[in-house]
């Protein structure tokens, strides 16, 4: 299993994260079913057909606005929220962490920088709330979501756009802009799924985002350890092929939606009715479907994380009812 050594998310944050994930996945499934309708024809049908899919997308979009405004308000009115805002600001540590990650990947550094560490182990005290990747995710999400919500609302009611630009084609330009903007987030979320699903110490899913701080087991070191203690964990027998497969699917998915976004665009509005690659381009069709598969894997992992949380909460409740014996996290030998 995993070493859940430094709790990060409060109960509200874990709940928010899961709801945001569900909503964003729904927006991806409906939005890219529309944008890549040639390649994802089955997804159009599965999410309500050519007219229903737009309604589902708009409902999920309103859900996103509600979630985002809720979260921004919470950040502003709670002291913890205001503190966390400071934790999101990037620093020189984060640049060092990114550089050290490159060195670590190439074998020139022995361990990852504290600001990059997902598994903290004995060194949990050194690890900040957010890794450099985590900070990047928060910033990109903030900018992306703002622009997506504004452009989404603009293309919902097209009259404003059409009036401003004095041409109906302007609405189509904003629809395309909205879709192309989401591509960045789509690619980022695929990476996010790989990052937190394929870490060898946490495979198949990193539970930090699902287990609230208050029930996360903690390890308090009495002494300084030279390593994080990762060498004490046993690698899952399936990790090797599963991580490689997920990595491959992620790369294919990212490359495919990126290429698809260039070919499947709708502005300038083409003369042909059949836009872009479409079903005639088999490789792109397969690749974009693989991208959607990666999202489905993410959705399943998100649900699995919540199942694990539920199980763990039940286990803790049972342990509290029973007389105290050696619990998880207790010492095996001496310490």
């Amino acid at each position: 299993m995993t070493s859940l050594d430094h709790g990060k998310f409060t109960r509200v944050t874990t709940l928010f994260h899961s709801l945001l994930a569900l909503d964003v996945f729904l927006l991806f499934f409906t939005g890219y079913a529309i944008m890549f309708n040639d390649e994802l024809w089955w997804l159009v049908e599965a999410t309500g057909g050519s007219s229903g899919v737009v309604a589902v997308h708009r409902i999920a979009g309103l859900g996103l606005i509600a979630l985002t405004i809720f979260w921004m308000t919470l950040l502003l009115i709670t002291p913890g929220g205001r503190d966390n805002f400071g934790a999101v600001l990037p620093g020189t540590d984060d640049i060092e962490a990114a550089v050290q990650d490159v060195k670590f990947a190439l074998g020139y550094a022995d361990e990852r920088h504290p600001n990059a560490r997902q598994f903290a182990g004995y060194k949990a005290d050194e690890v900040p709330l957010l890794s450099y990747v985590g900070k990047g995710v928060v910033w990109i999400f903030a900018v992306e979501l703002t622009l997506l919500m504004i452009s989404g609302l603009l293309i919902w009611s097209k009259t404003g756009l059409v009036g401003f630009f004095q041409t109906k084609a302007s609405a189509m330009a904003f629809v395309v802009f909205h879709g192309l903007l989401g591509i960045i987030m789509l690619m980022g979320v695929m990476f996010h799924i790989f990052e937190h699903g394929a870490h060898p110490a946490f495979y198949p899913v990193e539970l930090k985002a699902f287990l609230p701080k208050d029930i996360t087991p903690e390890y308090h070191a009495d002494e300084d350890h030279e390593t994080t203690g990762i060498e004490n964990l046993e690698l899952s027998p399936t990790w090797n092929w599963a991580a490689n497969l997920l990595g491959l699917l992620t790369v294919i998915g990212i490359v495919s939606v990126l290429i698809g976004s260039i070919f499947d665009e709708g502005y300038p509005i083409p003369r042909e009715l059949a836009v872009g690659g479409g079903p005639t381009n088999l490789l792109l069709t397969i690749g974009i479907n693989i991208g959607i598969l990666v999202l489905f894997i993410g959705l399943v992992l998100s649900m699995y994380g919540n199942v694990m949380r539920r199980r763990y909460e039940r286990q803790i409740a049972e342990e509290r009812r029973q007389p105290p014996t050696a619990t998880d996290g207790g010492d095996a030998g001496d310490d």
Binding site: M1, T2, L4, D5, D101, V102, F104, A105, R112, Y122, V133, F165, T167, K168, A169, S170, M172, A173, V176, F177, L180, L181, I183, M187, G188, F191, F194, A198, H199, P200, H225, E226, T227, G229, I230, E231, N232, L233, E234, L235, W239, A243, G247, V251, I254, V255, S261, I262, Y267, P268, I269, E272, L273, N281, L282, D328, G330, D331, A332, G333
Partner: protein, 192 residues
């Protein structure tokens, strides 16, 4: 593909009688047994019966006058099938004219009339710039995200190599609970 066929059919020109004829034959027989779910123990009873009708010539030659073995014939046919399919795909992908393109209403007038709005809206420099910028952002961010995927992939592989491999014998009988310390770790000497 060609490597396999070279290994298995070393000399397709050799006359049928020269071949031992055992390997492909019994392979096929095994396969059939597996598919039929037959118990291997019952195979010995069935073997003579199975060989009787074809005793005159080895069974990997369907046509006694031909030099082609069945396996080679299948390979050649598969190759031809794939090549023709590839050519058909290439033609359909790039050469065929789609009716969608033929029947599209084209803009008829430069300044006014049918399609004038289409032309005007499609040539707005501000909208063009907006789309160009977001395309560039997609490409830049996409490449950046790919770099970071590969970075994590490599980092994860290094981290995995630091962990105890599956099936690796425990260095201590005491079970280290999650996050717990081992009693006498060899590598993690600092852990205890």
């Amino acid at each position: 593909m060609s490597g396999t066929s070279d290994d298995r059919d070393r000399d397709p020109d050799r006359p049928p009688d020269d071949r031992e004829g055992g390997t492909p034959h019994s392979d096929a027989a095994d396969q059939r047994d597996r598919e039929a779910g037959t118990d291997p123990s019952s195979r010995s009873e069935r073997e003579p019966v199975r060989e009787m009708p074809h005793k005159e010539r080895p069974r990997n030659y369907t046509d006694p006058d031909s030099r082609l073995t069945d396996r080679l014939a299948v390979l050649i046919s598969a190759l031809v099938g794939l090549i023709v399919t590839g050519l058909a795909y290439w033609w359909a992908q790039s050469q065929a004219i789609f009716t969608e393109e033929l029947y599209r209403v084209q803009p008829t007038v430069e300044e006014r009339g049918i399609g004038a709005d289409w032309v005007q809206g499609n040539t707005d420099p501000a909208l063009d710039a907006m789309i160009a910028i977001i395309h560039a952002a997609d490409a830049l961010m996409g490449l950046g995200i790919l770099v970071i995927v590969f970075l994590h992939w490599a980092a994860f592989r290094r981290l995995a190599s630091q962990m105890r491999q599956p099936g690796e014998t425990r260095r201590s009988d005491a079970v280290a609970a999650d996050g717990g310390a081992e009693a006498d770790g060899e590598r993690g000497g600092d852990a205890g």
